[in-house]
């Protein structure tokens, strides 16, 4: 009897506390939102105004492999891929990137990780988890980044700090 009373009472207190905390947090973030300028793609143009959209950037098709920023990065695609079909009927990427076909077209075969199933066992065929290539591999466009990239390469990070 006494035990139940304390439990209910405790839960009640906890709930009230949570409510108070969330009210406080939302108040703070509201205050912040008012004086922080967020760069949006609309570039401070009112919702009611129409502006000419920027031209659609061209996809780079130079066939030159790009540097990876860290060893586990899925490499970006150095060629156009808009016409390749990836669905239940066919995966056209694998026409060139499968282990037994890549050398014919001088493509990089998919990495060994693409043959691992979720139990970390190697399979003869590509893992279903890696079927939809464009989930991880993207093309690049000939355009300027919208905001600065502050990524630091691990090699630079390890360099002794300049004086």
């Amino acid at each position: 009897m006494f035990k139940i009373f304390t439990q209910k009472w405790l839960t009640g207190c906890f709930g009230l506390g949570l409510l108070g905390l969330s009210l406080f947090v939302s108040g703070v973030s509201n205050a912040q939102a008012q004086d922080v300028q967020i760069a949006t793609m609309r570039d401070n143009i009112l919702l009611t105004e129409e502006v000419a959209p920027p031209a659609i950037a061209k996809v780079e098709n130079k066939d030159l492999k790009r540097m990876r920023d860290y060893p586990q990065q899925p490499p970006t695609v150095p060629h156009i891929i808009s016409k390749y079909q990836i669905d239940k009927n066919v995966n056209q990427c694998m026409d060139c990137h499968a282990r037994d076909k890549a050398s014919d077209v001088q493509a990089t075969p998919v990495g060994v990780s693409h043959y691992l199933n979720r139990e970390d066992e190697y399979q003869a065929g590509m893992s279903p988890r890696r079927y939809f290539c464009t989930q991880c591999h993207v093309t690049q466009t000939e355009s300027k980044p919208l905001i600065d990239n502050v990524f630091v390469d691990v090699n630079d990070l390890m360099k002794p700090a300049a004086k």
Partner: protein, 200 residues
């Protein structure tokens, strides 16, 4: 029965008798004129059946393949040159044209018996239909593609590296033809299990 036979006999007698009252000139001229009319009509009919409007007058063609064609480079591109159904599917040489038209009676048959009259039926039959087209293009060395894309006019230096590498290799040597490497350029591909792609 006897009457019919007699009628045929009479008809034949009239036809086989030399014309006594008509001049040779008249016969030659009417023969020529009707020949022209017949020939012209025949060719016009042939041309009509080569229009895209004709092909997509059947919903089987419009709802599936035509819809898919619209998002490809052969429907809209920067140079504004369009390929229509007959550019890729109907041979230009006259004798081949007739042969294709004869073959097309299969399509009328298919229309009547509804072989692909639903999306599902089409999906199920698609591999078979695609294989017919691949076999035809393989056999004629991708003639229809080459009517527009001439190998001799390809400037490899203006192509992407991947394209130039393949075109100056397996294509130039004649080991492969366009359709070996470029399947599915105008429509979506069927289940491709076991079909060879760009390599091998």
């Amino acid at each position: 029965m006897k009457n019919i036979l007699a009628l045929i006999k009479l008809g034949w007698q009239i036809l086989s008798r030399p014309a006594v009252h008509l001049s040779l000139g008249f016969l030659v001229i009417t023969g020529f004129v009707s020949g022209v009319i017949f020939w012209g009509g025949f060719n016009t009919a042939m041309e009509l059946t080569n229009t895209e409007a004709f092909c997509i007058s059947c919903h089987e063609m419009e709802d599936n393949v035509y819809m898919e064609l619209q998002s490809t480079i052969h429907y809209s591109n920067r140079s504004g040159v369009r390929a229509i159904c007959s550019d890729c599917h109907v041979p230009h040489a006259w004798s081949d044209k007739i042969a294709r038209k004869m073959q097309a009676s299969k399509e009328v048959w298919g229309k009547i018996f509804g072989t692909i009259n639903t999306r599902e039926k089409f999906e199920n039959k698609r591999r078979e239909l695609a294989e017919h087209e691949w076999a035809r293009l393989k056999a004629n060395n991708s003639l229809e593609c080459r009517n527009c894309h001439e190998f001799d006019s390809m400037d490899f230096t203006r192509q992407s590296k991947r394209a130039a590498f393949q075109h100056s290799g397996a294509l130039a040597s004649g080991e492969k033809t366009c359709i070996d490497c470029h399947k599915g350029i105008a429509h979506k591909l069927p289940d491709m299990a076991g079909v060879q792609g760009i390599s091998h």
